[in-house]
């Protein structure tokens, strides 16, 4: 039954309803795929017992005619989402053994709709990274390899386990989170679809906090429609998160009409950056042509403050992280390393529990927030955010949606970029502006490069207009055609 792992969520939903296969068969096929793919290191925790129990319940419901929206659909959950009674580490040593006594709102929404959880997915520590190499649980390996090469490649990050497990057909879909590009960048370099919704669309309650004004959860799956299906269930207003918005969640699938005639697509000139590989420029031009062929009109727009987005992000995100991560003190949960007094216990715990990148960011954040520096750094960066958001507002006076590359290049080799933090940060150059402005963005696979590696295009929408992203995203997806399946070299 291995072909069950190649289904889309839409097809699986249909097959389950028609009883072409049972939820148990579907789940078992995925459990087997997960077991065979341990070389990819996608999972921090596999939960086959929980999955089988969920599948059993799903089969009962389907038999009784009371199937819910995502009944029996096997997903992976990024290890940043608190799952009641199931180890949740956020990719960090400091959360050793942490079993949340509560469920995050997003996973609660999914489980209440019948989702079957296959396990918790590996990620960069506290979602700080663009290659999944900062995980305490070791890097995730990208299912894709360069043509004729065995070099292990990164799956992007921070939602690297999510991206690799979806691309490798271990799960039908996964949850991700995106603070600076952590859904869209790994989706692009693993050849899948990922959307970061508008800030406030999904509740952040129960998601381990990184940078609270930027963090947002979203779905990752193999088709635009599958992301639309998951998004409908993940999004909700939640009294537990005061920044979650009380707006109706549209029927995103219904919005996917395939019709984009007359749509105005903005092409921001500042996204043509120095040193951008020609294959990225070519891909962008292809995307422009595809949308033109479908009846859309291209409009040149300018987002003049784009180049300041990454530096502003690397003030705001570490500042908020240094504050959010203050709670890891060796007292309430996770790791504790003794010291001669309580202060040295805190210091020893945090020195042993946080990895290098997390320590670097906590220190940067602490520094920029420290007495005398607040105005020069954090306040300055928040002012830049206002200007960046204003750039988008001005652009949307002339267009409905923006088209850009998703990443400045394809997946790179393990350890190729770990020596230079800023070179690593540049992977998010096309995605980070969207977080700073709180807007929605989707990454859609747009083909393979000459080395046989997937590349993605990004669509950026107006606030709360995810529906347009799904509609245009599907048009891009169709024009690009389906990607081949990565050869399952990892199977044992």
């Amino acid at each position: 039954m291995s072909d069950l792992t190649s289904l889309t969520i839409a097809d699986a939903r249909e097959g389950l309803r028609k009883k072409s296969f049972s939820a148990r068969e579907l789940t078992e096929a995925h459990i087997k795929a997960v077991e065979k793919a341990r070389a990819l290191n996608c999972f921090v925790t596999e939960t086959p017992e929980i999955a089988l129990k969920g599948a059993e319940e799903a089969d009962k419901r389907i038999a009784a005619g009371s199937a819910r929206a995502l009944e029996g659909i096997p997903l992976g959950i990024k290890d940043l989402f608190c799952t009641k009674g199931v180890l949740t580490t956020a990719g960090s040593h400091i959360l050793d053994g942490f079993q949340p006594p509560y469920e995050s709102t997003v996973t609660r929404n999914l489980f209440d709709a019948g989702v079957v959880m296959l396990g918790k997915l590996n990620m960069d520590e506290f979602a700080m990274g663009s290659s999944n190499e900062t995980s305490y649980h070791k890097p995730v390996i990208n299912p894709w390899r360069r043509k004729g090469s065995n070099t292990p490649l990164v799956p992007g990050g921070s939602s690297g386990g999510s991206a690799a497990s979806v691309a490798g057909r271990l799960v039908l879909g996964a949850t991700g989170t995106d603070t600076g590009g952590s859904i869209r960048q790994p989706a692009a370099v693993t050849g899948i679809v990922g959307i970061k919704p508008t800030y406030g669309r999904c509740s952040r309650w129960g998601i381990v906090a990184f940078a609270s004004s930027l963090d947002q959860a979203g779905p990752m799956a193999r088709t635009v429609r599958d992301c639309a299906i998951l998004m409908k269930t993940m999004a909700s207003h939640d009294p537990m998160d005061s920044t979650s918005v009380d707006l109706p969640v549209p029927d995103y699938e219904a919005a996917m009409t395939g019709d984009i005639k007359g749509l105005k697509v903005g092409i921001p000139k500042e996204y043509r950056i120095d040193g951008m590989p020609p294959e990225i420029e070519e891909l962008w031009q292809k995307g422009i042509q595809w949308l033109k062929d479908a009846g859309a009109t291209m409009v040149d727009v300018s987002l003049p403050h784009t180049k300041y987005a990454l530096p502003a992000y690397y003030i705001v995100a570490p500042a908020e992280a240094s504050s959010n991560l203050a709670r890891y003190d060796g007292v309430r949960f996770g790791l504790r390393v003794p010291g001669k007094d309580i202060i040295s216990m805190y210091e020893n715990t945090r020195a042993a529990g946080f990895g290098r990148e997390v320590q670097r960011r906590v220190l940067i954040g602490t520094y920029v927030l420290s007495a005398g520096y607040y105005d020069a750094y954090y306040l300055k960066a928040q002012k830049l955010r206002t200007l960046i958001a204003r750039d988008f507002e001005d652009a949307y006076k002339k267009c409905d949606v923006l088209l850009t590359p998703a990443t400045p290049g394809p997946a790179f080799g393990i350890a190729e970029k770990t020596d230079d933090p800023i070179a690593m940060y540049l992977n998010d150059v096309f995605t980070v502006t969207v977080n700073l402005a709180g807007l929605p963005g989707i990454s859609v696979p747009a083909g393979l490069n000459r080395e046989g590696l997937p590349l993605g295009l990004q669509l950026i929408g107006k606030a709360f207009d995810e529906a347009t992203l799904f509609r245009v995203g599907e048009v891009l997806e169709k024009a690009a055609g389906p990607l081949p399946r990565p050869t399952p070299w990892w199977e044992v």
Partner: protein, 95 residues
């Protein structure tokens, strides 16, 4: 603005992260590289710009000032590395 070893030591103390002496200088270099890079923000005149305080334009909701949750001491201390009788245990802080 650039940071030296002593600043790193002070910031690490504020952040409650024990940094061994031999890591202070390399960390200062790493932080300086990042701080130098973010200094390009100074190219932009922001004297007449308000800082962003709310990411999307919504006003926060009010709710009734009533107790909605509680009586969960067991849940709260469940993950503590050290504790007793629904208390967290820490090294002695008063003589």
């Amino acid at each position: 603005m650039s940071v030296d070893k002593n600043t790193v030591k002070r910031v690490a103390r504020l952040a409650r992260i024990a940094l061994p002496e031999e890591r202070l200088a390399p960390m200062a270099d790493e932080l300086n590289a990042i701080l130098k890079w973010v200094e390009q923000l100074n190219e932009v005149d922001t004297s007449k710009v308000e800082p962003m305080t709310s990411v999307v334009k919504v006003s926060l909701k009010m709710r009734d000032d009533v107790v909605t949750d509680g009586e969960r001491a067991g849940d709260v201390v469940k993950n503590a590395p050290l504790g007793e009788d629904n208390y967290f245990a820490v090294p002695k802080v008063v003589e």
